[in-house]
Amino acid sequence: MTTTEELTLHTEPFVLNFGPVHPSTHGVFRMRCTLDGEVVLDIEPVFGYLHRGVEKLAEERTYTGFIPLTDRLDYISPMSNNLGYCLAVEKLAGIKVPERAEYIRVIMAELQRLANHCIAVGSMLNDAGAYYTPFMYAFREREKIIDLFDMVSGQRLTYNYMRIGGVSQDIPAEFLPALKKIISRLKKWVEEYEVLLKQNEILLARAKGVGILAKEIAVNCGISGPVARASGVKRDVRKDDPYSIYDRFQFDIPTGEAGDCYDRYRVRIEEMRQSLRILEQAVPQIPGGAVKADVPHLIRPPAGDAYAHIESPKGELGYYLVSDNSIAPYRCHVRPTSLINLTALREMVKGWKVADLILIFGSIDITMGEVDR
């Protein structure tokens, strides 16, 4: 009598390349996968196809002149990148930001989180094979948020809105009424999106228990943001090391338990609700006054170094700057979220099928511009 083990068909392990231009690789990411049939034995991430040497370019530009380039790091959420960089320069030069500018910054950062999570959940479900319905619904709402960014900054992708010591221009008169409309619209949309997918059996079967990231590994790898929070790591820079005026608002940090793809999806949806909560608190509180401190265009911070980090939509984003009292940074280093979140990918995908690999990769929510810099 033959046992089940003898009947199992074993194949030779072979190497398959995913990317760099595969639609599911969210940019130009390459995975060198070692497969046994359809089972993933091992993967090796290969990146650098989008490397532009942005950190080096910072050394040739003025402090203000580098802000438009930070837009191009994480191009899904440029406002957060602007904010992180400006906070680092302000720390370096000891600049106090006016109250009104702080509120505008928080509003922009939270709108950016909503816009980013729209793409994150939309494209993750697209990778899961839900095809275009949730993706299109998510993009439709993101476009409405981008309308607001367009209104204040004049661009739809590279906003270049934050400045050292504030923001570039005051919000126009029609901004706040439009923002209120968007908040109520997004609240309805999040509920609708939940009905569309929360109990969807196919999504549950595909995402529950898939790609589990243990809490210990998440902490040891330095994972941050929704990916870490889904694994039960209750860490959020907004609460743990408050920057700007986040200590004035009430919000919760949603965490997951299992650390699977479904938890990562749920944590993002919950974070959208919390962001809407912050926006609702911030809108009635906006004070009047200046939106930019008196900072010269060619700012010369005193010699020294500074590190500022923020909770970007993808996780902890840090900027480390060294100044030698000239008009350009002596050294600039970005602590990118996506690159560090990618380090845990290998642990998450081992033993799963190729189709799960795509979903697990989609659930991390990375932007290649930030990974390669």
Binding site: R61, T62, T64, G65, F66, I67, P68, L69, T133, Y137, R140, E143, K144, D147, D150, M151, V152, S153, G154, Q155, T158, N160, S168, Q169, P172, E174, A178, K181, I182, R185, E192, V195, L196, L197, K198, Q199, N200, E201, I202, L204, A205, K208, G209, H297, L298
Partner: protein, 169 residues
């Protein structure tokens, strides 16, 4: 493993959301025929330069992170001022950040309001002197100039558009 006890209910709920969308107004527009108003602060792919107001101080050229602005001045001893002999912008290198407009101390530089300005040759992207002047085809945008922004048409918001159409139905 996952239980498929209630298989169908969740999908049915999802389908109702999708079906409801059949009766909603689309959020897209038929672009070349139907045009939405762009933002009043749009940073279009062009620069508007005023020869009359420009003093040739080159603050814009220093502010440009890409070094796309080239400015040459000549001393005019008779009138005791600088004359701008060449003002050239390589819009192929321009990243439309708007820092030059913010830096200009004399309001001589504006972002453009137009956006359909693709060219067939790279050489056409280099704009020089009077080709940069403001004209009906090249209106100035309200970016960093609130007085101009107040005169421009109000931006069409996607969130508004849907409600407007619903009222009509």
């Amino acid at each position: 493993m996952f239980k498929f006890e209630r298989f169908g209910l969740g999908i049915f709920k999802g389908m109702t959301v999708t079906i409801r969308h059949l009766f909603r107004h689309p959020t897209v527009s038929q672009y070349p025929e139907q045009r939405l108003n762009i933002s009043r602060r749009t940073r279009g792919n062009e620069l508007i330069w005023s020869r009359e107001r420009c003093t040739g101080c080159a603050t814009c050229a220093k502010a440009c992170p890409q070094g796309a602005i080239e400015i040459v001045t000549a001393a005019n001893t008779a009138e005791n001022k600088y004359n701008v002999t060449k003002y050239r912008v390589d819009t192929g290198y321009c990243i439309q950040c708007g820092l030059c407009v913010e830096a200009c101390p004399y309001d001589a530089l504006f972002m453009g309001f137009s956006f359909e300005r693709a060219k067939y040759r790279r050489a056409d992207l280099v704009q020089e002197d009077d080709a940069l002047a403001e004209s009906p085809e090249r209106p100035a945008s309200g970016y960093f100039h609130p007085d101009i922004a107040a005169k421009l048409p109000e931006q069409t918001l996607l969130v508004d558009k849907i409600t407007e159409k619903r009222k009509k139905q």
